[in-house]
């Protein structure tokens, strides 16, 4: 019984961290049809900024988090103007893959040069240390905080895309850019805003998830497969589907580790194959924007 409870609690936490990082990728992939393989690199950049803000400048955690998100968004907006704008739309996937993976390598090399190949840490504030008891199991406060942030992200994004003017315009621009432009929607601005949203979410995930996915220059390459897997199962651009996918994969992976750890990643990938076999376009197919 306690094992079952442990699987659920640890699985949900792991799933939420996967969700926060992957959701930005899902937004750019689903709404703008860009296979942004540099997503992990953006998350990593934010992590390094937060780490530098906390350890180099001695700023508080919350300030570091906000600074990291702002810095990452501002630093990547020129990239959107200069590079990404040329590869929007699904017609040229190869160009998208080549450009974004090249960008990833550049960022990896840059971070390696600036910060060195050793691990970096974002020190947590006292309020996030220690443990909190949930039923018979105690989980670290930091993880509970991540779960809460994940839930807030789900609700916030759902509200933004389904209930606001911005969301309506964005979905219109995605479905038929020409018609949307003819109706007076400034599609280019919308795309820039969406790109910034995706990058900002990557940054948030990079900073919050740093305890679980430690920061080192190869972060960008090491974990991108994980994020892509979650997006593939969840369905691109579908917020609730992505949350379901992240939780499902998180729980399956955690259950495997509890019960038969020597099977390694087997359960994660087995689940991936089975789910995609049954739902080739991810959970809640057809609901994607």
């Amino acid at each position: 019984m306690e094992t079952l409870f442990g699987i659920v609690v640890d699985g949900v936490t792991y799933g939420m961290i996967l969700f926060i990082i992957s959701v930005g990728l899902s937004v750019t992939l689903g709404l703008m049809r860009v296979v942004n393989l540099a997503h992990g690199a953006f998350a990593m950049v934010a992590g390094y900024v937060a780490s530098y803000a906390a350890q180099g400048l001695g700023l508080p955690y919350a300030v570091g988090l906000v600074a990291a998100i702002l810095f990452t968004v501002l630093a990547t907006l020129p990239l959107e103007k200069l590079l990404y704008r040329r590869i929007y739309g699904s017609a040229n996937e190869l160009a998208q893959v080549l450009l974004t993976i090249g960008l990833t390598f550049v960022i990896v090399a840059g971070i390696n040069y600036l910060f060195g190949p050793t691990l970096k840490r974002i020190p947590l504030p006292d309020a996030l240390l220690g443990t909190v008891a949930i039923g018979p199991k105690s989980i670290p406060v930091h993880r509970a905080f991540v779960i809460a942030m994940g839930a807030a992200t789900v609700l916030g994004l759902w509200w933004l895309l389904e209930r606001t003017d911005f969301g309506i315009k964005l979905r219109a621009a995605v479905d038929d850019p020409n018609m949307a432009a003819a109706l007076g929607i400034r599609t280019e601005r919308l795309y820039t805003a969406t790109f910034a949203l995706g990058t900002g979410l990557a940054a948030l995930g990079g900073v919050l998830g740093a305890e679980l996915l430690p920061l080192e220059p190869y972060y960008a390459i090491r974990y991108i497969v994980l994020f892509l897997a979650v997006v593939a199962v969840g369905g691109a651009g579908n917020i609730l589907g992505l949350a379901a996918a992240a939780l499902a994969l998180g729980i399956v992976d955690t259950a495997g580790k509890y019960l038969i750890p020597s099977f390694g990643e087997f359960f994660f990938y087995a689940a991936l194959i089975l789910i995609l076999f049954r739902w080739p376009h991810g959970f809640f197919q057809g609901r994607a924007a």
Partner: protein, 394 residues
């Protein structure tokens, strides 16, 4: 251009080449294969810096020959590439010695090559016991998991601890560590209540912690390769309350290697490890080694076990050059260093004539905060530890 002139030019060029050849004849090249880029670049850096420290302290010439180190980058474990690089070093660079090797498979891949070319190979790190059995030309100056784990398991048993869970990364060295611990600990009357093999790519360690808790162990023996995994593991250990519950944490020293300590932070405090080298080792030679390091490179933050592996490796190579008078003769060179004993920054060491692996003192260390900095403080030493894994069970 007339034909004669062309011939004259060619002749001059040929003569120059010959001259150059004879001028280099007393330069002995040592090919070092290690990761200098990629996720493990720090390792290559420690090798290179330690060699430079050694050459700064002992000069670049030995018995009239200049020793020159040639570095080749192998960014991750890749045996085929390792062999290709070694071949290039031997054929094109005409190296007389091979050295380096961070990963076991890379070291193993060159065995047929060094036998054919009769070249000695000094291993600075790769720590699987079986390597030196594969060729009589291997000499190793690092450590093995058996060497570190056997005295640790005996120490744990002496503490009155009866139930231990082992948690190791699921690959060669991890399994070496698990086997060594289990055999020794159970011989000493203890019991291993759970053996967990964790996937190398794990990022979330909380589930393993729950299993350890469920197993009712009083202590854990853990081995993971230094890097992101050790960070996650040590943090999960303290975050999930295992540390607070009084469960003791034992393991080989890779888990608290010096460059990672600032990142591990307080999660590392109290971890007990056994290892061959700590920056905090109390000896004049170690202080001189670190001082020279700071003088040359500004800091000694990244000095760690791979540094002394390379430093002592350079020492062994110098002795080999001396013994062979500058000629390349692998069998003779290896013969000359069998039984060789010297004082290293880690303490007294000796090359065991049979296993060609370094016999050394293994220290029991506790990670603690001293003057605001984390360090591995040596609290006891187990002298003259051989490689217990050499031909184990044969």
């Amino acid at each position: 251009m007339s034909g004669t002139f062309r011939k004259a030019l060619l002749g001059t060029a040929f003569l120059c080449a010959l001259n150059a050849g004879s001028a280099w004849a007393d330069t002995i090249k040592v090919g070092v294969i290690a990761p200098f880029s990629g996720p493990f670049a720090t390792v290559g850096q420690t090798f290179k810096q330690a060699i430079e420290v050694y050459q700064a302290q002992h000069g670049k010439t030995v018995a009239g020959n200049t020793v020159e180190f040639v570095y080749k980058d192998l960014d991750q474990a890749n045996p085929a590439q390792s062999k290709a690089l070694a071949q290039e070093l031997v054929v094109k660079e005409k190296v007389g010695y091979l050295a380096g090797f961070f990963f076991t498979p890379d070291a193993l891949a060159v065995a047929p090559l060094i036998d054919e070319a009769n070249i000695p190979c000094v291993i600075f790190n790769a720590a699987t016991s079986a390597i030196t059995e594969k060729s009589p030309r291997y000499v190793r100056t690092s450590f093995t998991l058996w060497q570190n784990t056997v005295p640790l398991a005996e120490h744990v048993a002496k503490q009155g601890i009866r139930k231990v869970a082992t948690a190791v990364s699921d690959y060669g060295p991890g399994i070496d560590g698990e086997t060594a611990f289990k055999q020794t600990f159970e011989k000493s009357g203890g019991k291993v209540v759970d053996s967990i093999r964790m996937p190398l790519k794990s990022t979330d360690f909380a589930p393993f912690m729950q299993r350890i808790k469920d197993s009712g162990a009083e202590a854990i023996y853990a081995f993971l390769p230094a890097g992101p995994t050790t960070l996650g593991f040590a943090r999960a250990f303290s975050d999930t309350g295992l540390k607070a519950a009084g469960i003791k944490f034992f393991g080989p020293g890779d888990i608290t290697q010096e460059p990672d300590l600032p990142v591990l932070g307080d999660a590392a405090v109290g971890i007990t490890t056994t290892f061959n080298y700590s920056q905090a080792h109390d000896s004049d030679l170690n202080r001189r080694f670190l001082a020279k390091h700071r003088e040359l490179f500004g800091a000694s933050d990244i000095v760690t076990f791979t540094s002394v592996g390379a430093y002592d490796g350079a020492h062994v190579i110098y002795r080999m050059v001396e013994a062979t008078g500058g000629k390349s003769d692998g069998a003779k060179a290896v013969e000359a260093v069998k039984g060789m004993a010297w004082e290293s920054p880690r303490g007294p060491v000796r090359i065991d004539p049979e296993s060609r692996h370094v016999t050394q003192t293994i220290y029991l260390r506790v990670t603690e905060r001293k003057d605001g900095r984390l360090q591995n403080t040596e609290v006891a030493g187990f002298p003259d530890q051989p490689d217990y894994g050499f031909k184990a069970g044969k």
